[in-house]
């Protein structure tokens, strides 16, 4: 049993990394007042760009950087459509997701001559990092050590996000923008610019998340490889109320379920049922959030607001 648990947890770390990265970006974006439904598309673009650039330069690091840049670029374009042209963020996000699916459905057969999966020659994946000392710790060693660099980056992004939101002047202004744009603007904050920057940041992290999928977990690009992880990230920061700690926790829990579903495949249960596991976990967690918020709201309704 401990062996099985260890295996699941060790698999959960890389399995949750892409969700964690995208969710942290989405949380920052959400605190700035934009619900980013298009994370899925940016992950897919990131995964693709990582493979193309990784193969062309024979460097997985450059591939990952290019993926982040591409994600930021797509994020900025998405943001401008929302903040400057006044498009509805949900509709624009869904549109972006559909556009990405269509784009790769077209590009892969027409330009690359493959139906769904692209694995260019010369592609090198991300290395697995063995952390000395930690590696030797019983039980924890294999869980925490031996993952790809982007998995470690995903962990570092959590405290970084917290610092960004709560300990920088930028973070204060961004949260003010998200909470009450009018008041923020009246205080002299450039709210549109802040929103664009937060969306670009979310795009960059989603792009990295894509690179982690296509260079870390596997070494290829598949047009369906994101498998709804962008939406799971959305659920994670929704569950965490866009706060870094809780959001990260949710992302990790979803990752554990995903790892568990890998493990259970090949057992007695029907594989389709097992593959549903992470998504069922998302639905269950959202039910919990809904019930909790409802209770909170009811309590607040009964408490008179101060001074009213």
């Amino acid at each position: 049993m401990p062996d099985a648990l260890q295996a699941v947890l060790a698999a959960a770390a890389p399995a949750s990394a892409s969700i964690l990265l995208a969710a942290m970006g989405g949380a920052v974006n959400r605190q700035g007042g934009i619900v980013n439904v298009g994370l899925e598309a940016k992950m897919l673009v990131g995964a693709f760009v990582a493979v193309i650039c990784g193969a062309a330069t024979s460097s997985s690091a450059l591939g990952a950087l290019a993926a982040a840049a591409a994600g930021a670029l797509v994020g900025s374009a998405f943001s401008l459509v929302v903040t400057r042209l006044g498009a509805n963020e949900i509709v624009a996000g869904l549109g972006l997701n559909l556009a990405a699916v269509g784009l790769f459905g077209y590009l892969l057969p027409v330009v690359f001559g493959v139906s769904a999966t692209l694995s260019p020659p010369g592609l090198v994946g991300l290395p697995l990092l063995r952390i000395p000392l930690l590696d030797a710790v019983p039980f924890l060693g294999p869980v925490l050590s031996g993952h790809d660099p982007l998995t470690y980056v995903s962990w570092m992004v959590v405290p970084l996000t917290w610092l960004l939101l709560y300990r920088t002047t930028w973070g204060v202004s961004l949260r003010a923008t998200g909470a009450d744009e009018e008041a923020a603007r009246a205080a002299g904050i450039r709210t549109l610019l802040l929103r664009d920057l937060s969306t670009a940041w979310a795009g960059a992290l989603a792009g990295l998340a894509g690179a982690q999928l296509s260079l870390g977990l596997v070494q290829l690009f598949n047009k369906q490889m994101t498998g709804g992880r962008g939406f799971i990230a959305l659920a994670a920061f929704y569950f965490g109320d866009a706060r870094p700690g809780l959001t990260a926790l949710a992302a990790l829990v979803f990752g554990v379920f995903e790892a568990a579903s890998f493990r259970l495949q090949g057992g007695e249960l029907a594989p389709q049922l097992v593959q549903m596991l992470p998504y069922l976990a998302v639905v269950a967690s959202l039910l919990v959030v809904g019930a909790r918020r409802r209770r909170l709201r009811r309590r607040r309704e009964l408490t008179p607001e101060p001074g009213r």
């Binding site: 002047t169 008041a183 009246a186 205080a187 009964l302 009213r308």
Partner: protein, 502 residues
């Protein structure tokens, strides 16, 4: 003689066909408190917004210390030391008081320098002799605390001209006194205070100068020492307002509303109403006196069905109705003027017509067999606008375009378009100008004479004494007195509201 701190020469501002400011001249001396009074729609707020750089005038000259300036937005104004405390606070409720204080001018380059912010906060709180929980989100602060935070924000940005737009309309009498103390202190430090109000006693309590506006023009500017409330009132309205006779005829019928030992609790189970019992009869106005926060809101909500009582019985025409919802009670003839005008009273985004018929659209003649008749809705709205003197918007316009006083006329008109069995009126004249106040009081009086039972919650002692048949005093959730109005004086009522033994 030196140039005035602020000088306006022939300021004109038009909104379409409406002239909000018509060749306005105004001099404001440094280091004093200058009141600007006028009815709703007299152009006071537009003028203040021009001074604060929120609105650009169409014509005229704006001088600071004798030098002409042209403000490019509120950020430019605050750089020149001009700041405004709005009626609707410009605070971000989710952020802490400290974060709000420094918002837009956060200390530190990248790292938010909390220590510098806290030092500034402590200094400002000391200066205003106002304590605050700086780490609490603004949502947890009282209205008075929020207002003081707004003032400190302006001082943090080094404003030395502070403009207050009807600052007391949201405050309890005690908090208003506190604010006046702050205003006096700021003026004594050499800052210039401009404040809009339509409550004349406030002018004579704090200001040195008063400017009266009517229909976009300045009617008069005088030293407060050289004028008196009667004269200023006449200048505001343009005529003598003779207070109408609102004395009850005394024909009181059967009880309509009866509360028997009603209790209510707050969100954490703390008691808010303790065994409250009283009755309101046909043709009677019963006033509920008390300082805000002593259970008035809970009382109103329990009577309306917006809150479940924790114990006791509520009877409407002798039938228990504690379990009934708001709509059932309204169908039994209960009408409601909420203190929360923008939230419960009206929907600002809905049209004036939708607001006007919001309590009647389900019944004939407005709807038949579930189908709405737009023609009848429009005619009913136009009728209401005419009868209740709602000015400033056509039926199809969003209610947002109406000034506070006119929105309240719309709400009062909707609730009194039919004579209700019971009217629950919470602070019906709060934030309403002189003429509107007189009108609304008249409407309440008329409904009573037509046989309605009225429960009137108010903090205005004058309003209670003028209108009510009986007054009950609510103090810490308990009824501490239940007296016919003839046995109450203003002094005694004030003492009772403060919890002093009668």
């Amino acid at each position: 003689m030196s140039a005035p701190r602020i000088g306006l020469r022939g300021i004109v501002k038009r909104y379409g066909p409406i002239v909000a400011n018509d060749r306005v001249d105004l001099d404001v001396a440094a280091g004093g408190i200058h009141a600007v009074v006028g009815e709703n729609g007299a152009g006071k707020t537009t003028l203040m917004r021009i001074i604060a750089g929120l609105v650009e005038p169409d014509a005229g000259r704006y001088e600071l210390d004798g030098r002409p300036v042209r403000l490019r937005g509120p950020a430019d104004a605050i750089r020149r030391g001009i700041g405004m405390v709005h009626q609707r606070f410009q605070l971000v409720e989710e952020l802490s008081a400290l974060e709000n204080l420094v918002l837009g001018a956060t200390p530190g380059r990248l790292r938010f320098d909390r220590r510098a912010a806290r030092t500034a906060a402590r200094r400002l709180a000391e200066q205003l002799a106002a304590e605050l929980d700086w780490e609490a989100p603004v949502a947890q602060l009282s209205v008075g605390q929020r207002q003081r935070l707004e003032i400190m924000r302006l001082l943090y940005r080094r404003a030395d001209i502070l403009i207050f737009d009807e600052p007391t309309s949201v405050l309890t009498p005690g908090e208003a006194e506190l604010l006046f103390g702050i205003m006096r202190r700021l003026a004594a430090d050499g800052r210039t205070i401009l404040f809009i109000t339509h409550k004349l006693p406030e002018v004579f309590a704090v200001a040195q100068h008063v400017t009266v506006m009517r229909r976009g023009r300045v009617v008069a500017t005088s030293a407060v020492a050289d004028t008196d409330p009667r004269q200023v009132g006449r200048q505001m309205v343009g005529e003598d307002l003779t207070p109408p006779d609102l004395r009850p005829s005394g024909r009181v019928g059967r009880p309509v509303l009866a509360l028997r030992e009603v209790s209510a609790t707050g969100g954490r189970g703390e008691p808010r109403l303790r065994r409250v019992s009283f009755e309101v009869a046909e043709g009677e106005i019963v006033g509920v006196a008390g300082v805000e926060g002593n259970g008035q809101r809970e009382l109103v909500e329990v009577v309306m069905g917006l809150r479940q009582p924790a114990g006791g019985e509520i009877l409407l025409d002798g039938r228990p109705c504690g379990h009934r919802g708001v709509r059932e009670r309204r169908d039994l003839g209960v009408a409601f003027i909420s203190e929360d005008r923008d939230g419960e009273g009206a929907s600002l985004d809905a049209t004036i017509a939708d607001n006007a018929v919001a309590t009647a659209y389900r019944r004939p003649p407005l709807a038949r067999a579930g189908l709405l008749s737009p023609g009848r809705v429009r005619r009913a709205t136009e009728d209401l606008i005419r009868r209740f003197g709602v000015q400033g918007g056509r039926p199809g316009a969003p209610a947002r375009v109406l000034s506070g006083g006119n929105l309240q006329r719309l709400v009062v008109g909707r609730e009194l378009s039919r004579v209700p069995r019971l009217l629950v009126a919470a602070h019906p004249t709060r934030g309403v100008d002189l003429r509107g106040t007189v009108f609304i009081r008249q409407q309440l009086h008329r409904a009573r004479e037509a046989g309605a039972a009225i429960l009137l919650v108010s903090e205005e002692i004058v309003e209670l004494l003028e209108l009510c048949d009986r007054i009950v005093v609510l103090y810490r959730g308990r009824i501490t007195a239940d007296l016919p109005v003839a046995r109450v004086t203003a002094e005694r009522l004030g003492a009772l509201m403060a919890g002093l033994a009668a």
